[in-house]
């Protein structure tokens, strides 16, 4: 059961080996999420238009292992961008993936950049 989570490990900007073209700007709704398929992974991508920032994380919520985070609601806690899972409202920081409710599970995050209207997500493999 746990193997779903093993696929997702945080990638930092310096780790990136592959910049995957996930789509163009208009493919992604603003101030909420879209889900991107990359190989056997599902990645949730958020265009935080209001802050002019982009974030990406695993789409699977570590609480009950359902592929739903991209459908959650974005927001901020103490000014840190966060995502709330639509299932049970578990919230995670989009900056470092940490759990904001004090539970001991967190999410993997991935770098995102926008180049000439293309949205790119960084992976190591």
């Amino acid at each position: 059961m746990e193997h779903v989570l093993d696929k997702y490990k945080t990638v930092t900007l310096e780790d990136v080996k592959v910049w995957f073209k996930a789509g163009t700007l208009k493919d992604f709704p603003s101030n909420r999420g879209g889900c991107v398929k990359y190989k056997d992974k599902q990645i949730a991508v958020f265009n935080f238009e209001r802050r002019n920032e982009w974030y990406a994380c695993q789409n699977v919520c570590p609480h009950k292992l359902e592929m739903v985070l991209s459908r959650g609601m974005t927001g901020s806690a103490d000014n840190v961008p966060k995502i709330a899972c639509p299932m049970h409202k578990k919230t995670f920081s989009l900056v470092d993936g940490s759990n904001l409710n004090g539970e001991d599970y967190s999410i993997a995050t991935y770098p995102v950049k926008v180049v000439e209207g293309e949205v790119l997500i960084g992976f190591i493999d």
């Binding site: 059961m1 779903v4 996930a22 789509g23 493919d27 992604f28 709704p29 603003s30 101030n31 909420r32 879209g34 889900c35 991107v36 398929k37 599902q42 991508v45 935080f48 209001r50 802050r51 699977v60 009950k64 292992l65 359902e66 592929m67 739903v68 459908r71 959650g72 609601m73 974005t74 927001g75 901020s76 806690a77 103490d78 000014n79 961008p81 966060k82 709330a84 639509p86 299932m87 409202k89 919230t91 001991d104």
Partner: protein, 837 residues
């Protein structure tokens, strides 16, 4: 580095590490932990949940990398064999030697196995570790395959009853065997034990008291237990949980002082007879006692940690053994001295066999002091009674009021949390006093309940003290003149009602305008849906308008289910549907492989629609005359009806037609929480109208209108607003009532709770909406009129605008569906695979 070695990695050993690393100055120390079990410390208190599907990981007290993150060296599966006090070293069974500056023995206890002939037979187990549980599970499976159903538990104490529940969860019939004449002999008197026994026996668990077991029958494996008097109980498995035996062999071997009946003697600093060696938890003999509860163990861990780091914190003189728990679903509590009764002390006992409750309090004969008590079947008074006992607070003039409640007159007999002395322990799991909670607010360290929880850890254990902590935090905030506001969240310091007025007056139409002008930050999952709902209530916007800020289900116009698929509920007003439409629903379910069930509101629910399929499903439904049923919205759901005088020989009026009219009048209107209605054509009340937010019942000469009822977690009957009124008047009062609720209720507050909190209650509400006391009826009606008749089906809107369809795709870069969804069969349909973690 100063070296601390902790021997034992159970709950108390873990708590020592947790407490130690939170103290200032801890960076000068290196903690090394040795545990003989193969895993990290886990929660033994909730061990029986392992049978109910929790995994070893769920029970773990820490995350996998917790020890590493905190620079603690953890050695599992390694047993300490010797302590050499003089050289300050220990040896492990791997022949390794380690030196220490301080040694902490947290070796706990093992199960006490009485010397009964035959206990070595196959099928006899103890109940202590995850490995024991695995062995019990495997054996239970084996004997069940051979057709056995009976198993015994030796010991009718706390742990024995837990074990009995576990045995039952494994699908066997448990028999609890106890040597004493009553259950939980340390906590309960005979009357309480009898009540508990009758409640447990009602669950088909056998209770055998006064039983002395002579031998375990059977050749190689157990087949029964022979009691004194040649009475044989046939069982194929036995779980022993008849007490504990401290694991003091290490201490004994090292020449530390031990008690006559075991346990390593400690002083109030938790030091053993060697000042560099500490003992904590169930191995420690403090005041000639072994305390087999986790709370004192935690306190010992904290004292030892403080002592090592150089403070002078001491263990309390008397350790309170009060406890409140649920055993096999029965609430049991015992506090102070539960049994005391003598020339000076008298017991007041209240027993109610009708509802299965037993309450006892022990009060001094002058009626001034509460010394202890017992509660079985209903322990809701435990918190209040415990505070009165532990703080020696004054009793009411009639002490019996403490367990009977004050009969007549107002007010609670258990007093107010603010009357407690500052030293009162409010959270006994984390040992947090009233003073600590209140001071954290008054000295400015904390601002909110959340801050207090973070700082003190209060409420983070069993959670039983939460209501009291909330009260104290509020009272402390008030005491420093801080206005206690029911503000929505960190982004808005306003109530929903204030925000409603702000939006209406400024004519805002976009969430970010509101947060930029009147809030801060970017909003969150709490305030966004509130503002979206306010927009809908004012402008009658459908949920398609503010997709970004709509809550989970509103965003996709469907209810999310356990595996991330959705359910579809078309409107079936009043529960009336044609055969043709029934066929359509069946066809749609077959085509898309949906699970179908009839809901509580007389509608049909189709489960398991993927995000991608939702528009196609709705297209067929809408083409066949259906519309959205708003089962996903905080809005009117359904108006339930009986068949009325159209068919029923008792019907006094046409309830179905009225229900359909009401449903169509208010459908789509967004409100602070969901709204449900019902219409019955006579007082037999087949539509259960009085369990709804609004209910109409036909009577001689008109209709009675009831409001503010609901089912759910706190069922409440709706109350009578007006009697014998005609349909038009029902509509008029309903328009006013609903609009007044929509305008003034807090987020996610149902009508029943709203009425409870309304100053002046029902009488005031009647004044406002029937007699127009504050002159707002015209405005309320006008506002409602602007919503009625502007209804649009939001699913129809989606299907007409490709732009709106975009959100119904699982991926942005692929038309594939979510490949993570797995189904299992259930009866003749299917359901998502279970969440057994």
């Amino acid at each position: 580095m100063i070296k601390i070695i902790v021997v034992g990695n159970g709950m108390v050993g873990f708590k020592f590490c947790e407490k130690f690393i939170s103290k200032s100055g801890q960076e000068k120390y290196q903690i090394t932990v040795f545990g003989e079990e193969p895993r990290r410390a886990y929660d033994r208190v909730h061990l029986s949940e392992y049978f109910a599907g929790k995994t070893a990981d769920d029970l773990s007290m820490s995350t996998a990398n917790w020890y590493e993150e905190n620079n603690i060296i953890l050695n599992t599966s390694e047993l300490i064999t010797d302590i050499h006090k003089e050289s300050k070293t220990i040896t492990t069974h791997l022949e390794k030697t380690h030196s220490y500056d301080y040694l902490v023995l947290a070796t706990g206890s093992s199960a006490f196995v009485p010397p009964i002939e035959g206990v070595e037979k196959e099928g006899v187990f103890v109940y202590r570790t995850i490995e024991d549980l695995d062995a019990i599970m495997a054996y239970a499976k084996k004997i069940k395959a051979n057709g056995s159903t009976e198993a015994a538990v030796l010991g009718g104490g706390l742990l024995g009853l837990e074990a009995a529940k576990a045995v039952r969860d494994l699908g066997l019939n448990p028999h609890v065997v106890e040597f004493a004449p009553r259950l939980m002999p340390r906590q309960l008197d005979k009357g309480a034990s009898n009540m508990l026994q009758s409640k447990i026996e009602a669950l088909n668990i056998g209770i055998h008291l006064n039983k002395s077991t002579q031998y375990i029958a059977g050749k190689d494996a157990i087949t029964g237990m022979m009691f004194e008097g040649d009475h044989l109980l046939k069982v194929d498995m036995l779980v022993i949980s008849a007490g504990i035996k401290p694991r003091d062999e290490l201490g004994k071997g090292a020449g530390l002082e031990v008690g006559v009946r075991g346990g390593i003697v400690v002083n109030n600093k938790m030091q053993t007879s060697d000042p560099n060696i500490f003992a904590i938890g169930e191995v420690a003999l403090y005041n000639h006692m072994i305390y087999g509860l986790v709370a004192p163990g935690y306190e010992m861990a904290d004292v030892a940690a403080e002592q090592i780091i150089g403070s002078d914190k001491l263990m309390r003189e008397t350790i309170d053994m009060s406890t409140q728990l649920k055993l096999i679903g029965v609430e049991v509590a015992s506090f102070g001295d539960p049994f005391i009764e003598n020339e000076e002390v008298t017991a007041i006992v209240f027993e109610n066999k009708f509802n299965g409750t037993y309450k006892r309090i022990n009060v001094t004969k002058d009626g001034k002091t509460l010394l202890g008590g017992i509660l079985v079947g209903d322990s809701s008074d435990y918190n209040g009674l415990f505070q009165i006992y532990s703080n020696a607070m004054a009793l009411p003039p009639n002490p019996e009021d403490l367990i009977l409640g004050s009969r007549g007159g107002e007010g609670s007999t258990l007093g107010n949390a603010m009357d407690l002395p500052d030293t009162a322990v409010i959270c006994s799991c984390e040992n947090v006093t009233k003073g600590a909670i209140c001071c954290s607010i008054t000295d400015g360290t904390c601002e909110t309940m959340g801050d207090v929880v973070k700082l003190t850890k209060a409420t983070s254990g069993c959670g039983g003290c939460k209501p009291m902590v909330v009260d104290l935090v509020k009272a402390a905030q008030k005491s420093i003149g801080k206005e206690v506001k029911e503000s929505i969240c960190e982004h808005f310091h306003y109530t929903r009602q204030e925000l409603f007025d702000i939006v209406k007056i400024n004519k805002y139409t976009n969430f970010y305008e509101v947060v930029d002008h009147h809030g801060n930050g970017d909003g969150c999952e709490v305030c966004k849906p509130v503002v979206a709902s306010i927009f809908s209530s004012i402008y009658n916007d459908t949920a398609n308008k503010h997709v970004t800020t709509q809550d989970t289900n509103d965003r996709y116009l469907a209810n999310i289910q356990r595996n991330g698929t959705y359910s579809v509920v078309p409107r079936i007003a009043g529960g009336e549907i044609t055969p043709e439409k029934l066929v359509v629903i069946g066809e749609v379910a077959k085509q898309f492989g949906l699970y179908t069930k009839i809901t509580g509101a007389q509608r049909l629910d189709l489960f398991g629609a993927t995000l991608n399929d939702l528009p196609a499903i709705w297209k067929i439904l809408i083409d066949n005359g259906f519309e959205s049923g708003h089962a996903y919205g905080k809005s009117l759901r359904a108006v339930k009806s009986c068949v009325g005088n159209a068919w029923c020989r008792y019907g006094m009026d046409d309830s179905t037609t009225f229900a359909i009219e009401l449903e169509n009048r208010y459908k789509g209107i967004r409100s602070p929480h969901k709204l449900k209605g019902g219409v019955s054509a006579c007082i037999r009340e087949c539509a259960e109208a009085r369990g709804k937010d609004f209910g109409v019942i036909a009577v001689e000469g008109g209709w009675n209108l009831y409001i503010c009822g609901n089912g759910g977690a706190n069922p409440k009957h709706a109350v009578l607003l007006a009697e014998t009124i005609d349909k038009e008047t029902v509509f008029k009062y309903m328009d006013r009532f609903l609009m007044y609720y929509v305008r003034t209720a807090g987020p996610l507050v149902r009508t029943s709770t709203w009425l409870e909190k309304l100053d002046g209650g029902l009488d005031y509400l009647k004044e406002v909406i029937i007699h127009d006391r504050i002159g707002i009826c015209e405005a309320l009606e006008a506002e409602m009129q602007s919503l009625i008749g502007t209804y649009e089906c939001e699913w129809k809107q989606v299907l007409e605008k490709p732009r709106l369809m975009k959100r119904f795709s699982h991926f942005v870069n692929s038309d594939d569906k979510d490949d993570n969804i797995e189904y299992v069969p259930i009866r003749d349909q299917h359901m998502p695979k279970s969440w057994n973690f």
